[in-house]
Amino acid sequence: MVENRPFQTFLTHLILILGVAVVVFPVYVAFIASTQAPGTFLRGVIPMTPGAHMVENYSAMLGTGLRRAGAPPIAGQMFNSLVMALGITIGKIAISLLSAFAIVYFRFPFRIFFFWVIFMTLMLPVEVRIFPTYQVIVDLGMLNSYAGLTIPLIASATATFLFRQFFMTIPEELMEAARVDGAGPMKFFKDIMLPLSITNIAALFVIMFIYGWNQYLWPLLITTDTDYFTVVMGIQRMANAAETDPQWQLVMAAVVLAALPPVLVILFMQRLFVKGLTETEK
């Protein structure tokens, strides 16, 4: 520290506490709202202190949902979100590990071409190819299915690049030693590369889980059956319904539930999260 004046430190803390308050504010309001009694939101202003109906609201959302708005119970939607998030995460990591391994540890015709094909995925987010992708899903009969929710999203240039980058830093001699020790490519992959990649896999897991859980446009496109709704996309129906039938205490309970799992993942795995975030952008 060049300078260490008590007043400056106080000012720093003050700014940060105010900043944190602003950042936390929307979620605080949502939580407070989710504990209120029905009818609270018909007039007046949102209360700023917790109400007494937390358990009631949350269990209502988890168990029955908002029938009048055509929203099924949140529990089922959360399960769908979990399946989708885990499916995307595991799928992305698995196929990216394999393709990065092939690109780094083999020399074969069309290698560079394959690399560029994978690279192209970076330039083609769902948002720019909505309709034709939807048609492909229809043609393959993947509407309203877990396969449809996950498989099309598991191609990942980012993850492949991350693993390629990491594999390149592994000393050449490790693979040569393993070859002399009688390990074939897949044995080397399983015995040496996988254990060494654990930290990177975990960091990527955190990032990809959040990515998968927070998908919005994709489930919106390919699910029409409420049994396959995910919780993040389901929120929209309830929020819109609340404009006319202001059951905000229930909508906000759903919002808190939808945001909770990925937020918990970040809070408990902050170090891996920061690592994942900064390394995928290299």
């Binding site: 060049v2 300078e3 400056q8 430190t9 720093t12 700014i15 940060l16 944190v20 950042v23 929307p26 949502a30 007039r43 007046g44 202003v45 949102i46 196929i95 990216s96 394999l98 393709s99 391994f101 690109i103 083999f106 074969f108 290698r111 394959f114 994978i118 192209m120 970076l122 330039m123 083609l124 948002e127 720019v128 190819r129 909505i130 309709f131 034709p132 939807y134 048609q135 492909v136 393959l140 498989i151 050449e172 490519p185 080397f188 959040i210 927070n214 919005y216 446009l217 919106l220 929120i235 929209q236 905000w248 939808a258 945001a259 990925p262 937020v263 970040i266 809070l267 975030l277 952008e281």
Partner: protein, 294 residues
Amino acid sequence: MQTKRSTFPAGWLPYALVAPQLVITLIFFIWPAGQALVQSVQRQDPFGFRTTFVGLDNFSRLFADPLYMNALSVTFVFAVGTTLLSMSVALLFAVMVNKLIRSRDGYTTLLVWPYAVAPAIAGVLWWFIFNPTIGILPYILDMLGYDWNHRTSSTDAMILVIIAAAWKQISYNFIFFLAGLQSVPHSLIEAAAIDGASPMKRFWTIVFPLLSPITFFLMVINIVYAMFDTFGIIHATTQGGPAQATNILVFKVYMDGFIGQNIGYAAAQSVVLMAIVIVLTVIQFRYIERKVQY
């Protein structure tokens, strides 16, 4: 592109290893993108029975369409607003947190979690706070003499979606700014202090210029985020309204193609978006190449 110095004998195995990634990419990325290109020069009749080749007609219609031009300018205002708001707040937080030692991790934890909140959820949170009837902020604004109503006011609606989009993105920018600040050599700041520069002057003449690569990188990332990842915010809240005021490009392409079934027209919009992503990706990778050389 490099491999290892010595590699495993090739055979069929490497093909099998890249196959899953490749097949998914071809079926769900490359093929639909190609379809979008083809459809962008075609027109379908309303029942989808006949398609005719119309050349660049869809594109010329697109750029003559005042609604599309409106979406372009709305997207521009939205992206620039989100980027500026989010980055400046994040930089302020990062500089403050970087001054502290013991409480650094604690504040970091409190500031990074909004990254995990989905854009759609972020949208609904702020939509609720700004609710013109019961929202807490309109209540306060009303006391200050401002009549907030994002259902009717274009400006209010735009401010709402910018705040929601920027709020979520603060975490991301904060993490990168903090990492950047921590890599500024302390000796430089001490040298500037010995040279008599005040703390403010030290920041703007020494630290900020050293952060410029990260700032540039974050600008690109934030623009990409605001343009392509915020569909959920718009869809879950304003639905592009009022009066097209928040109708950003990705929302418009969804409405025209998916809801309006105007395939060729939407495909032309997709192609324009594709061009934008490609340009932004190239800029981003240029930057990364340069960074590697440092």
